[in-house]
């Protein structure tokens, strides 16, 4: 596996939930491996979700009632798909807005100019 410049995983911590929820809103149901692949694809390989961070977060969101799961088995393999619940769906926008506001604040605090 060749690597390009990768973001520090510490930075990812606070945004993991937002990423998962947004992805599920856009793509309906997804399973764990699919999510890691999608993030890799969207970030052009700059963001890599580790399984150690992904699964606990998925389970937490499920326990909180934001996600539900569907199981599909083929042969010995069982695939678990995650899907937004009604509460999950309504929390996506808040999470994304919250994150946007956070970034703007960070620009001011760190005194950097966005180049968007």
């Amino acid at each position: 596996m060749y690597r390009r410049i990768m973001h520090n995983p510490e930075l990812l911590k606070g945004t993991l939930q937002t990423i998962i929820l947004k992805l599920l809103e856009d793509h309906g149901r997804m399973y764990g491996y699919e999510i890691t692949q999608k993030v890799k694809e969207l970030s052009a390989g700059k963001l890599v979700l580790t399984e150690g961070a992904l699964y606990p977060t998925l389970h937490k969101l499920e326990a909180e009632g934001l996600l539900v799961t569907e199981r599909e088995s083929f042969g010995k393999r069982v695939r678990k798909y995650y899907k937004l619940t009604e509460t999950g769906r309504s929390s996506v926008l808040t999470k994304v807005n919250e994150f946007e506001a956070f970034i703007r604040t960070m620009f001011h605090v760190l005194q950097i100019q966005p180049q968007l």
């Binding site: 764990g32 491996y33 150690g52 606990p56 937490k60 499920e62 042969g75 695939r79 678990k80």
Partner: protein
């Protein structure tokens, strides 16, 4: 998917081998790993190499463990799940100690079922008369008089009072009088069949304006305005007229009085003290127009205007008494107002709220059948006691079991459990128990309800449709669960993990003093109830066996004999001829409370009618055979004789009257009274009647034994409400058939109604019988629940001491010795409870018996036997466990050491 089955199996096994225990997570990880491996294999790597690097990218075993732990931790940090876990553990605990759970639930359920029934009963009692919309503004006038140091407390008042009150007190909107005349035989003109009707009363025309009794037909304003009108209940209308329109039909009362049906009202609810089927218009009664203030026959109810203070009306009422009653009284006894008052005489009116009448009336007679607030209090107290006993069981067992659970608490605390978590765990367990107990309790209450209804004379139903019921049940579940569980919860959660895990203080704990206290309390209540039961039964037996002064056995009383009119004499004569009959007497004055009574003031001839020599005396109108039929004993003189014409003005006094008049046998004893106009219900001024005393009879009880035997005189006269027949054989059936045959001959259209004198006597003490029933029922339940707890406690103690017992046996202790050892401690507790309860029982029984002028003398034996019974019952309970423990094989109990 390029992986072969073999590869997948390898991955599954390896992942689990590396310590993934959570199945959900396991499945997910397998799929994830497979995908990653496939990705790599697409790039040309071999399976085993690909797998190896994937596992490394997970951070090997350590990383996988971390992942699993984080997932579990994250998803468990959630109250809903925590609660689920609590519940799961609670269920496991309860099913593991099934024996204790069963005892806990049963005890609590019996307690709650009792409580539920009692609450329903009390609720019903307290709800009387509240269906009237204006119930809070309706009052009844009662009267208290003190005259010649005799107290008179009556719910009835003079005829003119109602009208005067409405005219002179502006706060009074309406006044309604009632006057009962006993039962009537009622028929229609068309159908000769007659029915005996008890629920008949004369009422003023404003009845429907004051009381909320809706009319189905007729005009409420005019229904009772005219004389000879009657309003009847819907069910009565159906009974007499079927489908016909009852309005303007005629009803015959006692075969002669014609009344016109002017209205039909909805049947009055059972939850009211006024419950009648016939309301006759007051105008039909001559007596109601009387202007005399000294004869009191009318129940008088007032509707006050809204926002009126009843105290103000009461004051104004008493001014009316001074204005109208006192002058007439003074005129009659010939004294001035000042003298009258100086002698301590007085007359006070009170207003009794409508809603108080049913429970808080204590008059010797009343308009309807009343209950007593004491029963409500008593029932509530007993319900609370039983509930407390059941809760105590629960607490006792939970704290006792703490020894078994101490280790669990220790481990949980060592693993980082907070005290609040433990308290929650224990509370959830007790609430769960409480839910089970409530479900069982409702089933029990439902089963017991028919018995309870027949016992209490009510028709209660569990209000399954009412949402209030569920709210109350649910909050009680929580309240009882929390209350019963709170002590064990705090007690258990306070253990120090270091101590319990080292095995220190796993037995007894500080709770044992409290536990003993609670057992003492349980038995204190049980013994109290037991002594109460015995006392009430003893008093009942005393009443049944006391020499009454008349013979209550073997007397049949034939009702409605006045309907025979002129033929009564012939009827009596023919009865007398029957071989089974000893004697026959016609008089409605029967020595049973509730029968005809009339009293007048008498004085000894030669003295004027003054304060000091006027005696209030029952004057009973009887015939020549009365003394013989009732089996009364003459002490002096003779009975009335048919041949002596002057006996029509003779009197036979009872001992009390004889003494009260200050008479001496052998002198010329004559007493006098005011002449009285019975039709108008008034004294005739300046006219007197004199009576010669021809005999004295032994005092006999003619009221309940709560009252002293008062002065009484028998006079000759015609009064044929009841024909009493004394039977001389034991064959009641035969005698009854012959009497009925005679009745049918004389009155073919009338039904034959009869009662037995001793049954009627028994009815006087129905309240006492009911009390005895209640006491024995609840004493039994209290003991049952208490013993249930004791049984479990003993089982637990024996279990705790298994090893000790084993060692003792090995060292040569006998079975008897061990049984004694185990039961000694409980025996002490029972004795302590006895010592506490006996004085209290003694005091309460003395208070209760003080109600009776004639009461049983309870010896000390009662207390002794009650205590002994409790001891024996408790010992049998413990004994079973003790013997089982003592007989167990020491090898079994010591093997594990």
């Amino acid at each position: 998917m390029d992986l072969t089955e073999e590869h997948i199996n390898y991955i599954i096994r390896d992942i689990h081998f590396r310590g993934i225990a959570d199945e959900e997570l396991g499945d997910e990880l397998v799929d994830h790993v497979c995908s990653l491996v496939e990705e790599r294999m697409k790039k040309g790597e071999r399976f085993i190499e690909a797998y190896d690097s994937v596992i490394k990218s997970f951070g090997s075993d350590k990383g996988i463990h971390q992942l699993q732990q984080n997932s579990i931790e994250f998803s468990n940090n959630n109250t809903k799940l925590m609660f689920k876990n609590n519940l799961k553990i609670a269920f496991r605990n309860l099913s593991r100690y099934r024996f204790y759970t069963l005892i806990n639930v049963t005890g609590l359920a019996v307690g709650i079922a009792c409580c539920l029934l009692i609450v329903m009963f009390v609720n019903d009692e307290l709800g009387y008369d509240r269906y009237h919309e204006k119930s809070s503004s309706i009052y009844r006038i009662t009267r208290y008089a003190l005259f010649n140091e005799q107290e008179f407390h009556f719910p009835v008042n003079p005829a003119p009072l109602a009208e005067t009150v409405v005219n002179e007190i502006p706060e009074v909107e309406y006044a309604v009088r009632f006057r009962g005349q006993g039962s009537y035989l009622v028929s229609t003109k068309e159908d000769p069949e007659t029915f005996k009707e008890k629920y008949i009363i004369f009422s003023d025309k404003d009845f429907f304006k004051v009381f909320s009794v809706p009319l189905l037909a007729g005009n409420p304003a005019t229904a009772l305005a005219e004389p000879q009108s009657v309003a009847i209940s819907a069910s009565t209308a159906k009974k007499y007229f079927g489908e016909k329109d009852p309005l303007h039909q005629t009803l015959l009362f006692n075969g002669e009085d014609e009344y016109n049906v002017t209205a039909v009202f909805e049947d009055m609810p059972a939850q009211g003290h006024i419950k009648f089927d016939f309301l006759l218009s007051m105008g039909s009664l001559e007596e109601s127009k009387s202007t005399m203030w000294l004869s009191n026959n009318f129940y008088t109810y007032l509707l006050l205007k809204e926002g009126t203070d009843s105290k103000v009306v009461e004051q104004k009422l008493n001014r009316l008494a001074e204005k109208y009653v006192v002058p007439q009284m003074v005129e009659m006894i010939g004294k001035t107002v000042e003298e009258f008052e100086a002698a301590g005489n007085k007359l006070v009116f009170h207003l009794q709220p409508l809603t108080d009448i049913y429970l808080k009336s204590a008059f010797s007679f009343d308009i309807g059948i009343n209950s007593d607030i004491t029963y409500v209090y008593l029932f509530t107290a007993i319900a609370l006691f039983i509930l407390i006993i059941a809760c105590i069981n629960f607490m006792n067992l939970s704290t006792a079991r703490s020894a078994n659970r101490a280790k669990e608490v220790g481990v949980r605390k060592a693993l980082g459990s907070f005290r609040s978590h433990l308290i929650r765990q224990f509370l959830i367990e007790s609430i769960l128990l409480s839910i089970m107990a409530f479900v069982l309790a409702i089933v029990l209450a439902n089963t017991a309800l028919p018995f309870f209804n027949s016992f209490s004379g009510k028709s209660l139903e569990i209000p399954y449709e009412s949402p209030m019921f569920y709210v109350i049940i649910l909050s009680s579940v929580l309240a009882i669960g929390t209350l019963a569980g709170i002590y064990p919860a705090f007690f258990l959660s306070s253990f120090k993990p270091a101590n319990v895990l080292k095995g220190k203080s796993t037995r007894g704990f500080g709770g044992s003093v409290l536990r003993k206290g609670l057992v003492v309390f349980q038995f204190f209540i049980s013994i109290l109830l037991m002594i109460g039961t015995v006392a009430v039964y003893q008093q009942l037996r005393f009443i049944q066996n006391k020499k009454l002064g008349f013979e209550k056995e073997q007397v049949i009383m034939v009702s409605d004999a006045y309907m025979l009119g002129e033929q009564l004499r012939a009827f009596k004569e023919e009865l007398r001829q029957l071989p089974q009959i000893a004697s026959v007497s016609a008089s409605s004055y029967i020595p049973i409370s509730g029968y005809n009574r009339s009293d007048m003031t008498y004085w000894k001839e030669g003295k004027g009618p003054t304060q000091d020599n006027m005696i209030n005396m029952q004057s009973w109108v009887v015939d020549h055979d009365y003394v013989k039929t009732m089996g009364m004993e003459l002490i002096h003189g003779r009975n009335f004789e048919r041949d002596i014409a002057s006996d029509s003005t003779a009197v036979i006094l009872n001992e009390s009257a004889f003494k009260a008049h200050g008479l001496r046998w052998g002198e010329n004893n004559v007493i006098k009274t005011f002449a009285y106009d019975f039709r108008r219900g008034q004294v005739i001024p300046d006219e007197y009647w004199t009576y010669r005393v021809i005999g004295v009879i032994e005092d006999f009880h003619f009221e309940s034994m709560k009252l002293e035997i008062g002065s009484l005189g028998l006079m000759l006269g015609k009064n044929a409400g009841v024909v009493s027949v004394r039977i001389n054989s034991d064959s009641f059936e035969q005698a009854l058939t012959s009497i009925e045959g005679k009745w049918d001959k004389f009155a073919p259209h009338l039904s034959f109604n009869y009662r037995f004198l001793d049954d009627e006597f028994g009815n006087m003490y129905r309240a006492e019988s009911r009390l005895a029933g209640i006491f024995s029922l609840f004493a039994g339940l209290a003991i049952f629940i208490g013993c249930l707890g004791l049984f479990a406690l003993a089982a637990f103690m024996a279990e705790q001491r298994t090893k000790e017992i084993g060692i003792r046996k090995v060292l040569g202790a006998s079975v008897g010795g061990i049984v004694l050892l185990l039961s000694k401690e409980f025996g002490k507790l029972i004795i302590v409870s006895f010592l506490v309860s006996a004085p209290l029982a003694w005091w309460s029984i003395r208070e209760w018996l003080a109600n009776y002028s004639y009461s049983v003398d309870l010896g000390l034996g009662v207390y002794f036997y009650a205590g002994l019974t409790a001891l024996v019952i408790a010992w049998l309970t413990i004994g079973f466990q003790a013997v089982r423990a003592a007989k167990s094989d020491p090898v079994q109990s010591l093997r594990s050491e």
